[in-house]
């Protein structure tokens, strides 16, 4: 075992750390932003409204993340209209002129980074919708009844009662999703991105030292996971303050006895 190769090449891991944190952070944030309204819509009784959301969730939870990433990264590149726009269907179109590339292809889908981000966002969004939907549906009926009895409108009830209450309940499950997403982001290395796992791949291939390379990657992931768990604990303590056992701060001395 020779960890000097790791210390000499630590910059690969720190560059990788940045990519990993970016990919996970941005995709989680975007996923959550989309997931909240979609989860609310998903609880609607209107079948036409819930159908597309059900389908989206079913597809993205029903296929492995790596397959989704491959379809987006390699699959889309197969179609000329993705690269050159719908002009390809007109006669006399000459795809050789690379300057004709669509904006979407040139600046978005041709970059591995955005492809990964896109796949991760859709994936986490689907899971988060389900987490939040479950929480909304398990809202104690008493809370809804109380809101109705004081004459709240549906939107006000949603904003003041249902969402705060259910997001709070969804929180621990969402913590799980955050960690899953972090570990899922290791797949980015498969499409040429140099995240932490990608860095380990380079070190392994260069020095033929898989143990040192991947154990270091593991330690990096553990550190991030630790930070996430710690952060979630902090937040949980705050948002579950009303559930904490009552401590009478005026009688400190008595508590000691």
């Amino acid at each position: 075992m020779d960890f000097s190769i790791i210390s000499e090449n630590l910059h690969y891991y720190f560059d990788g750390l940045l990519i990993t944190v970016q990919l996970t952070g941005i995709s989680l944030l975007l996923g959550l932003i989309f997931a909240i309204p979609l989860a609310v819509l998903r609880t609607s009784r209107n079948f036409i409204l819930t159908m597309p959301i059900r389908f989206f969730v079913y597809v993205f939870r029903g296929t492995p993340l790596i397959v989704q990433m491959f379809i987006i990264y390699y699959g889309l590149g197969q179609f000329d209209f993705v690269k050159f726009g719908f002009g390809v269907f007109q006669e006399g179109f000459n795809p050789d002129n690379i300057g004709n590339q669509t904006f979407l292809w040139k600046y978005f889908f041709s970059e591995a980074y955005f492809c990964a981000l896109f796949a991760f966002t859709l994936n986490t969004c689907a899971y988060t919708i389900e987490i939040i939907r479950g929480a909304i549906e398990s809202t104690p009926f008493g809370e809804v009844e109380a809101a109705k009895s004081v004459g709240m409108s549906r939107t006000m009830m949603l904003r003041r009662i249902i969402l705060p209450s259910s997001l709070r309940r969804a929180f621990p499950a969402y913590g799980n999703e955050v960690i899953f997403m972090l570990h899922g982001s290791a797949l980015a290395s498969v499409i040429t991105l140099m995240d932490i796992t990608g860095a380990a791949g380079i070190i392994n291939a260069r020095y033929y030292a898989p143990y040192e390379a991947y154990i270091t990657a593991g330690v990096f992931y553990l550190c991030i996971t630790f930070t996430i768990v710690w952060l979630f604990k902090k937040i949980e303590k705050r948002i579950y303050a009303h559930l904490a056992p009552y401590v009478d701060k005026t009688q400190k001395t008595a508590a000691v006895n």
Binding site: G77, D96, I98, S110, A112, T192, N204, A205, R206
Partner: protein, 258 residues
Amino acid sequence: MKRITLILIAAVFAFAGSAAAKDWKKIRMCTEGAYPPFNYTTPDGKLAGFDVDIANALCDYLKVECTWQTQAWDGTIPGLLARKYDASIASMSITEERKKKVAFTDKYYTTPAKFAAHESFLTRVIEGKLGKLKIGVQRETIHDRFASAMWGKKADIVRYGTQDEVFLDMKSGRLDLALADSVAISDGFLKLKGNEKFQFVGPSFNDPKWFGNGAGIAIHKSNQDLVELFNKAIAGIRANGTYKKIQDKYFDFDVYGE
């Protein structure tokens, strides 16, 4: 207790000793299986290609039984060091750096490296439409090393796990150039249907400093006897015409080089 331990240790050493001196009846071969036309996996899951045929010919020549397994390129040398197989025939160039870790047989072919690009590449160069160039290579190959050392700061070197993925992204237009073995490019990419718009550009690269002295079979350093066995067999199949027969099946030129 102590004595039993000693006996056990002695037994292990005796066994290891006998294993090292064994004459080779069965050789566990390994290849990547994703590097056409040298080694690839056929649709029905069998290994095929120049490397595989050569290895089978070598085994026939030596009258030994060879079993096959595949190993992703990145793990070729670690797998060999971990003795997951006895020999790896995966078009691996014989470089000084790799020789520090594993032993190599004599070369069984040499082909130069070249760039490939879309036919519009030159026009885009002239019109000055190119920003920072993207050069696709397979990760930690001689081509990766060479491109990274020569142009690592001036161009984006995009590294892939397999050569096939480089070609795939070349085709989808994500790469400006691909640097790879000339035969891998022509047979694994240019000659395939739908890739008529791609072609070789620039010179051939074969500086031994970067590209080694041809491709050899990699073997664990402790199995020097196996290296000699294979060297004998390579010379043997070169002499008895088997090599040429296999070569002609895949190429219309002399792939062995000088």
